[in-house]
């Protein structure tokens, strides 16, 4: 009896439960599988809680939706909250579509079709270049449309044109969604189709041509940008076709629902067929827009940003990183745990580029790489990478993460006035204001900085000698920096690792005798493996270098196998966690 009741309830209410389940799934996906993406998006904007920032944002078409988008995106710093907002916005979009369809023609929104735009937008948001502002613009436009249809006094042409202009200014292109909805409503409910078409369709299109032209007289943007309105895609000169298709789908959804309702009446079984395009869309969006490889990079970045070194190593243990950026993050994490020389060849290594990567003109990678140079004491280089990453963000947005790093590096370098400036900006944000206030205490307070576990240590090991940073001579720079203090185990391990990765064993061996102001016992397993390759197998010599007998035995075994079966994959596999394997690999 009980089972029958639940089944009956599900049968009656599945169209209420299903959207919630889909939004729940979307929430779980973003909250637990896409944290890197959300964190990354929160980092690459700086939402200020000031009236001036609001005015600055809303002073161009689409600015209000951008403002809302940024306001919500700042919560991505906590991915679970960010994911909840995404799910909530998508569910709101669904409910608004249902309300609008019902207003136009009661009971027309039956079936699966209203879920299609939700699934498409969820898929688009998996691509970090699709900004949340676009979804906010849609939800805002649908809300205004629903209100417009609900209140009879608002339905006159004058109110329509005013709302159309207001939506254009707040949201941009989505004003056409409003136009399409109102047109559909009027065409269904009137006999004077000629007048409705002229007033509601031709009028709207004329308005959408006039408004960008008017805006272009006082705003310096290309006309195409003004016609599009808000920044819904990160690269402002690119207007993705899929976004236009999504907006067209939303705009035409009431008409599609009415049309499909007419078809369904001819054969009720047809209702269930509408699941097919929805499912197909879901498959296309997931396969086309979910990028777990990129998520891996961003997850590594998130971990090194928050100094979760053990988590990085756990991730690497689950799946061996094989991209330069992820390898570089792993090597930093290993070094921070004093395990670089012990374990680095247990993982894939791609040469010196995976240790101290070169600068690339981009906004993502330099931000990741700034962390490496920061921990190595190359404070100016870290500052440069963070600054350049911020300046490379499309659309001229600033980055809260970059500003934070600029404040830190300037405090470490004793440039207090400019640090104060960055802290003032951070004090106007929601999630960094308390950090910035605490940080103010360090301004002009040399003693406090010197005793800070991170800043004080970085001051001790930072580069004080002046030379021009050279991408091609990183080992020379590391050597200079290390020999000026002999304090940093991290710099020492990086220097050793650099020579190992560049297969410069002569310098690697010379580096062994460098003075060290930190406890060092026997050379690490990797170092021993490299030493064997340089000094040979003479026991006396190896004892001098403290090479263990087991390492020597393994080396002899490796050499024997290598001589006999130099190209045997099985032989290589047996030694794939050794430096010897890396050394012979082409």
């Amino acid at each position: 009896m009980n089972k029958i009741t639940i089944f009956g309830y599900l049968k009656r209410s599945h169209m209420r439960i299903l959207p919630l389940m889909i939004c729940g799934t979307i929430f779980c996906f973003f909250a637990f599988m896409y944290q890197g993406h959300l964190s990354y998006l929160a980092d690459f904007q700086m939402f200020l809680l000031t009236g001036r920032y609001f005015v600055e944002m809303v002073s161009h078409p689409g600015g209000f939706s951008e403002y809302l988008g940024e306001a919500v995106t700042q919560f991505y710093v906590y991915p679970v909250i960010g994911a909840a907002f995404i799910a909530l916005l998508l569910y709101s979009m669904y409910r608004l579509l249902i309300i609008i369809c019902d207003k136009i023609k009661p009971q027309s929104a039956k079936g699966w079709m209203p879920l299609m735009p939700v699934i498409v937008y969820a898929g688009l948001l998996c691509d970090e270049n699709f900004m949340l502002a676009g979804l906010c613009a849609v939800v805002l436009t649908l809300s205004i449309s629903a209100l417009h249809l609900s209140f009879a006094p608002l339905r006159g042409p004058m109110a329509y044109y005013i709302l159309m202009a207001a939506i254009y200014w707040m949201c941009g292109l989505t004003a056409l969604i409003f136009a399409a909805i109102v047109y559909t409503y009027n065409i269904i409910r009137t006999d004077d189709r000629y007048r409705v078409t002229l007033v509601y369709l031709a009028g709207a299109l004329a308005l959408m041509v006039i408004m960008p032209i008017v805006a272009s007289t006082f705003l310096q943007y290309p006309l195409s940008r003004l016609a599009f309105g808000g920044v819904y895609y990160n690269f402002i000169t690119i207007y993705p076709t899929v976004l236009f298709l999504e907006y067209a789908l939303i705009a035409l959804l009431p008409a599609i629902c009415i049309l499909s309702g007419t078809i369904v009446r001819r054969g009720p079984w047809l209702k269930h067929i509408s699941i097919l395009p929805v499912m197909l869309t879901a498959v296309v969006m997931v396969s086309g827009y979910v990028d777990l490889r990129k998520e891996e990079v961003l997850a590594y970045d998130r971990c090194i940003r928050y100094k979760q070194w053990d988590k990085v190593i756990e991730m690497a243990d689950r799946r061996n990183p094989d991209m330069p950026s992820t390898v570089a993050c792993l090597n930093l994490a290993l070094a921070r745990n004093n395990q670089l020389l012990e374990k680095m060849f247990c993982y894939y290594q791609n040469g010196t580029g995976g240790l101290m990567p070169d600068y690339v003109r981009d906004f993502t990678l330099p931000m990741i790489y700034n962390e490496i140079y920061y921990h190595l004491g190359f404070i100016n280089t870290s500052r440069r990478f963070a600054f350049e990453a911020m300046e490379a963000i499309p659309g001229g947005r600033k980055s809260v993460r970059a500003i934070k790093r600029l404040a830190e590096t300037n405090v470490i370098n004793g440039k207090y006035e400019v640090a104060r400036k960055y802290l003032t900006l951070l004090e106007q944000t929601l999630f960094y204001k308390y950090w910035a206030r605490r940080m103010r205490g360090y301004i002009d307070n040399e003693q406090l900085i010197d005793t800070h576990p991170e800043y004080g240590e970085l001051r001790k090991i930072r580069v004080d000698d002046d030379f021009l940073f050279s991408q091609d001579e990183k080992d020379m720079m590391l050597g200079l920096v290390y020999t000026s203090s002999h304090r940093s185990r991290l710099q020492y391990e990086y220097l050793q690792a650099y020579y190992l990765l560049s297969k410069d064993l002569k310098r690697f061996l010379a580096c062994q005798s460098l003075k060290k102001e930190f406890p060092v016992s026997r050379p690490s397993r990797t170092q021993q493996e490299a030493i064997c390759m340089v000094v040979g197998t003479g026991r006396e010599e190896l004892d001098k270098w403290m090479v263990a007998g087991s390492t020597l035995a393994d080396y002899n075994s490796f050499m024997a196998s290598y001589r006999n079966f130099p190209k045997d994959p099985q032989m290589l596999k047996n030694f794939d966690n050794t430096y010897w394997h890396y050394f012979i690999r082409e």
Binding site: R52, S216, Q220, Y221, P222, R225, I236, T237, R361, F378, I379, N380, T381, R384, F387, E388, M390, E391, A392, I393, G395, G396, K398, I412, N413, G414, K415, E417, V418, R420, K421, T424, L425, R462, V463, D464, D465, D466, F467, L468, F469, M477
Partner: protein
């Protein structure tokens, strides 16, 4: 519950009373004296300002909830209030300044802490009777390294706070714009570069505008640093092959050096690049051309070549000159060294001859060609009559002073400085009297200077005075760039 008529009337009176009290805030009566001159931001104490400057709104260091200032000379008075920053009514300010031109006014500042007013000692401000040019044109750009995001060239009406964009790179995305230049402070004759795809040099001669590709097969680059000949018939350009380096020590940041550089002349009417062997294809590095006010001399900076980056610290520029005949477009046969870098131990950069032809303002740095990243860079004035070089101690600071530009009357000048925070370049104004003595510089006024300069993430770059409003048809520029309507220029190297 609905409001009764009585309630509405009472509320209206209360609101009106509040409004009226706000309109006529009374001069505060101080209950205490600070006994010292206030520490202002920007520091406007004892400055000399042109009579047409925008209101000198300022704030005082310390905590308070209201500020009041009285500007007074004899019976002439101006009173202004503000919350944290003084908000001087612009119309009253302008008439007060005109009334007091050539005079010294006393400024008395009071601040309210809690509900008590405290008065500071008065300080003087001198209102110079000579007005400066009405507008400044500058580029705003983040003080970055190689990447640039949002930037633009803007004009500021220095008699008010109005700033308008001449051209922003939001119009032509991903492109850089730089080196705007005017002929003799004339807003109608200008040029600037747009870098990137389909970029070029935008030239407006007053009669026509064009987008030109100044890069020829015979020059090492397109035009870089420009300077108009007073006749408007020529623009001298440096052509530079430039590289950047990045310092590792905390004191230094960026180094910019030239692998090669020359000076060429652009014939505005014939649209031709003219090259003379005297300044072109020589082993020396020539840069920063500038014509004298009478147009008969071309000044420029020249350094012995040293391989870079290895020997970048050995590169020091001397100030040189060569005669120029604008009627034939030809140069003299001899280059004179006016300021020898080896003798003064400095690199001489950005020569800017004064409009009266008596002096040249230069930037001095320890070495190199790009002083904005040199904290030791200072301004100096070279007196052409006495052949003496004098550091402008009154305007220099412990940090960078770099680019400078004369106002057309030859008394006022603007210069860029990093004295505020060591990174973000700000504009300072000062004047030079007949004896070459400079007045105390003051920061370009803003409506709320503290907030504005603290929150701005842009540096002021290449400030140039102009005598009026600059008009650029930005949509025309956009169209030319987008459509690639760029005109290649000719090249001639047969000039003397």
């Amino acid at each position: 519950m609905l409001m009764t008529g009585k309630t509405i009337i009472i509320s209206s009176w209360v609101l009106l009373a509040v409004f009226m009290s706000g309109c006529s805030e009374k001069v505060p009566i101080a209950s205490s004296e600070a006994g010292c001159v206030p520490s202002l931001y920007p520091d406007y104490t004892e400055v000399t300002v042109p009579c047409n400057v925008a209101p000198l709104n300022f704030s005082v260091d310390g905590d308070y909830n209201r500020i009041f200032a009285e500007f007074r000379r004899n019976e002439s008075r101006l009173e202004a209030f503000g919350k944290k920053t003084l908000d001087i009514p612009i119309d009253k300010w302008q008439s007060f300044m005109l009334e007091n031109r050539g005079e010294t006014v006393d400024v008395t500042v009071s601040v309210r802490v809690g509900d008590k007013w405290m008065r500071y000692n008065s300080f003087p401000i001198t209102v110079d009777s000579v007005a400066m040019d009405s507008h400044l044109v500058y580029r705003l750009i983040a003080p970055g390294y190689e990447v640039y995001s949002r930037m633009g060239i803007y004009q500021r009406d220095v008699t008010s706070f109005r700033e308008t964009a001449l051209i922003e790179n939001s119009l032509t995305p991903h492109r850089c714009m730089n080196c705007h230049s005017f002929n003799q402070n004339n807003p109608d004759k200008l040029s600037f570069h747009i870098r990137g795809e389909n970029g070029g040099t935008y030239l407006n001669t007053g009669a026509e505008s064009s987008l030109l590709d100044l890069n020829t097969d015979h020059t090492i680059s397109a035009g870089v640093y420009p300077y108009w000949h007073p006749s408007g018939d020529y623009i001298a350009y440096s052509v530079n092959k430039t590289q950047q380096g990045f310092h590792t020590s905390k004191e230094l940041c960026v180094e910019v050096f030239d692998h090669a550089s020359d000076i060429v002349l652009f014939d505005v009417n014939r649209k031709e690049i003219l090259a003379t062997p005297l300044l072109n294809a020589t082993p020396e590095l020539e840069t920063f051309p500038a014509f004298s006010a009478d147009g008969k001399t071309l000044y420029f900076c020249s350094s012995e070549f040293h391989p870079v980056p290895n020997e970048y610290k050995l590169i020091r520029y001397s100030l040189c000159s060569v005669e120029f005949d604008s009627s034939t477009g030809s140069f003299g046969e001899r280059i004179d060294t006016i300021l020898n870098s080896a003798e003064i131990g400095k690199s001489v950069l950005f020569p800017r001859p004064s409009p009266d032809g008596k002096s040249i303002m230069v930037t001095l740095a320890d070495y190199g060609t790009f002083p904005i990243w040199h904290g030791e860079a200072d301004l100096a004035l070279y007196d052409l009559q006495s052949s003496s070089l004098n550091l402008m101690d009154r305007v220099n600071s412990a940090d960078t002073e770099s680019y400078h530009s004369w106002s057309s009357e030859g008394r006022w000048f603007v210069f860029s400085s990093r004295r505020d925070d060591g990174l973000y370049t700000r504009l300072y104004l000062s004047s030079v009297d007949e004896n070459g003595v400079a007045t105390k510089p003051f920061l370009l006024p803003q409506k709320d200077a503290r907030r504005f300069y603290t929150e701005s993430l842009y540096s002021y770059n290449i400030p140039e005075f102009v005598k009026g409003t600059v008009e650029i048809d930005e949509r025309d520029v956009e169209k030319r760039v987008v459509e690639g309507r760029i005109k290649r220029v000719g090249f001639r190297n047969d000039i003397r």
